[in-house]
């Protein structure tokens, strides 16, 4: 589903992405791990269109994403969450999701009908909120939610557009034990239905969710394999020396 081939990017003298090639097939969850500063978020930015790689290819379902802008990639079926929560603070949670649904439900160059009353959009939004168990927050202003709840909203926004591929940038960031477990369960339910590229530090999540793992160090992929293989891989252990043990 997603093919990254020989991606390269540098900022001035700093090479942040070195000849990266990653593959995510249509039914799997592929994890991307690595120490801080390895270039994981930068890679997600390049796939989603926030940054442009210097060279290489990005293919989604056989389609070249590079000439497409951020919004065009979303329309092509790509969806992502942000490491630092990025929602629409002045709207309610329901409206946040409804707006995300709206993006894929026909033209938004409509000037007369009240959008908040479109039952189809609201129903679909409610459906998503029900699945992630956020219904009781539906009418709260997004800006007033707790951090944990906002991570869920991030996910809801990413799912709203019925994406072909989900890019998850540290969805568990800043969550407590219980909230993390809840999120892992939910992502587990998505497994097999939607292909995912998961960037995470939480090893528990990696083990429970991913079918394969790529290890990124200093912008380059140093190892690829199943979670079990990666856990035993000496290069990866060395890279993580002093950090969370694999």
């Amino acid at each position: 589903m997603l093919e990254l081939r020989n991606l390269n990017k540098r900022f001035g003298a700093l090479q942040v992405t070195r000849d990266v090639s990653v593959s995510v097939s249509a039914t799997t969850c592929h994890a991307l791990i690595g120490p801080n500063g390895a270039g994981k978020t930068t890679l997600i930015h390049q796939i989603s269109g926030v940054l442009q790689p210097d060279s290489g290819e990005i293919m989604l379902d056989g389609r070249n994403l590079l000439p497409l802008s951020m919004d065009q990639r979303a329309q092509a079926g790509l969806s992502r969450t942000f490491q630092i929560t990025s929602v629409l603070p002045s709207f309610s949670v329901l409206e946040n999701v409804a707006i995300a649904v709206q993006a894929k439900s026909g033209s938004s160059m409509r000037f007369l009908r009240r959008a908040a009353r479109e039952t189809a959009l609201n129903a679909r939004a409610m459906e998503i909120l029900t699945r992630i168990d956020l219904v009781d927050r539906a009418h709260m202003r997004a800006g007033d939610l707790s951090h944990g709840e906002l991570r869920l909203v991030e996910l809801a926004l990413a799912l709203a557009g019925e994406p072909k591929l989900l890019l998850l940038d540290e969805p568990m960031a800043g969550l407590g034990q219980r909230e993390s477990a809840r999120l892992i369960d939910f992502l587990g339910s998505l497994k097999g239905h939607i292909p995912m590229l998961l960037v995470e530090h939480d090893m528990d999540a990696i083990f429970k969710l991913s079918d394969s793992v790529s290890v990124l160090v200093d912008g380059a992929v140093v190892a690829t394999g199943t979670p079990q293989q990666i856990r035993e891989d000496p290069i990866t252990r060395a890279a993580y020396l002093g950090e969370d043990t694999v």
Partner: protein, 311 residues
């Protein structure tokens, strides 16, 4: 029917009977003041769409009022008398100018957007000043005005007051509908978080450009009616201080309110009129008033008028 809607209706009802009531009180000349306020309100309503809903602060919006006024004036001088045709011309010309300047301006954002809209406003000001055939710096006095298929009902002393009132109501209603529709929602989402909105799948710049053009067209209509009322157009309509005045009106009235632009416009016009009766140098009060307002009364007039319920 929410509070804001009824407040709006109340204002319109008052304005509807005002000319007659004023005439009875022997103060018929005050209708002119109300017209001035309404013309300002129409332009302010359009800027409100940009600032409050779009998060786009333009310091060159008054230029579109001027473009509208001049487009109509030049057409009138060329022999086109029918106000409906003039309206079409005004809309077309302002839309064209807005499309070009907006597309360029929207390549920037934030304070750079502020500056580039200022630059375009100045360019328009100087262009209008250079139109020697139409009065240049001094402006152009119109010897004949627009008519509605020959009838002078759309002129001063006849129905112009009501035409302007109807236009203001239409603008008020229109901008509100737009803001509640899918388009407006995307615009506000982009104001909140442009990157998130783009990631959702929206071409943010396109929506902002459309908003910019719509706002410009409404401002242009204000210009057309200003020409019709004042029987005069001048490049001063595009001065950057006028753009600043428009921002004051919008913020003073209250950005989050549906009636903010109208309240702000009437307040400014009436305050200026009243203050200037007492104190020739009323700006000595007006200036500090603005500063105090910014420092202490963030929500503007409508916030002050309707605490705690938001209008």
């Amino acid at each position: 029917m929410d509070r804001a809607f009824t407040t709006g209706l109340a204002i319109f009802a008052l304005l509807l009977i005002a000319p007659m009531a004023l005439e009875l009180m022997g103060a018929g000349y005050l209708s002119g003041l109300l017209i001035k306020a309404m013309l300002l309100a129409i332009a302010a309503i359009s800027l409100n769409l940009l600032i409050a809903h779009g998060g786009m602060v333009s310091l060159g919006h008054a230029a579109f009022v001027a473009v509208g006024a001049y487009a109509a004036a030049i057409a009138l001088e060329s022999g086109i008398e029918n106000i409906l045709v003039l309206l079409a011309i005004t809309l077309a010309v302002t839309a064209a100018v807005a499309l070009v300047t907006g597309a360029l301006a929207l390549r920037t954002s934030g304070v750079y957007f502020l500056m580039i809209t200022l630059a375009f406003g100045q360019m328009i000001f100087f262009t209008l000043s250079s139109l020697a055939a139409y009065g240049g710096d001094d402006g152009l006095t119109l010897w004949s005005l627009a008519t509605l298929w020959g009838s002078d009902v759309v002129q001063n002393g006849s129905g112009l007051y009501f035409v302007i009132l109807a236009t203001m109501i239409a603008a008020w209603w229109g901008v509100h509908r737009i803001s509640e529709a899918r388009f407006g929602r995307v615009l506000r989402a982009a104001r909140d978080n442009p990157q998130r909105t783009a990631i959702m799948g929206y071409n943010v710049k396109r929506y902002q450009l459309v908003a910019y053009v719509i706002a410009a067209m409404i401002a242009g209509v204000s210009g057309l009616l200003t020409m019709q009322h004042a029987e005069f157009v001048s490049p001063a309509l595009a001065a950057w201080q006028r753009s600043g005045d428009l921002i004051v009106v919008v913020v003073l009235g209250g950005l989050s309110s549906r009636n903010g632009a109208i309240l702000g416009a009437f307040f400014i016009v009436l305050a200026e009129e009243i203050l200037s009766q007492f104190l020739h140098e009323w700006r000595l009060l007006y200036g500090p008033l603005l500063v105090v307002m910014v420092l202490y009364a963030k929500g503007g007039l409508s916030d002050l008028l309707s605490r705690p319920a938001k209008a």
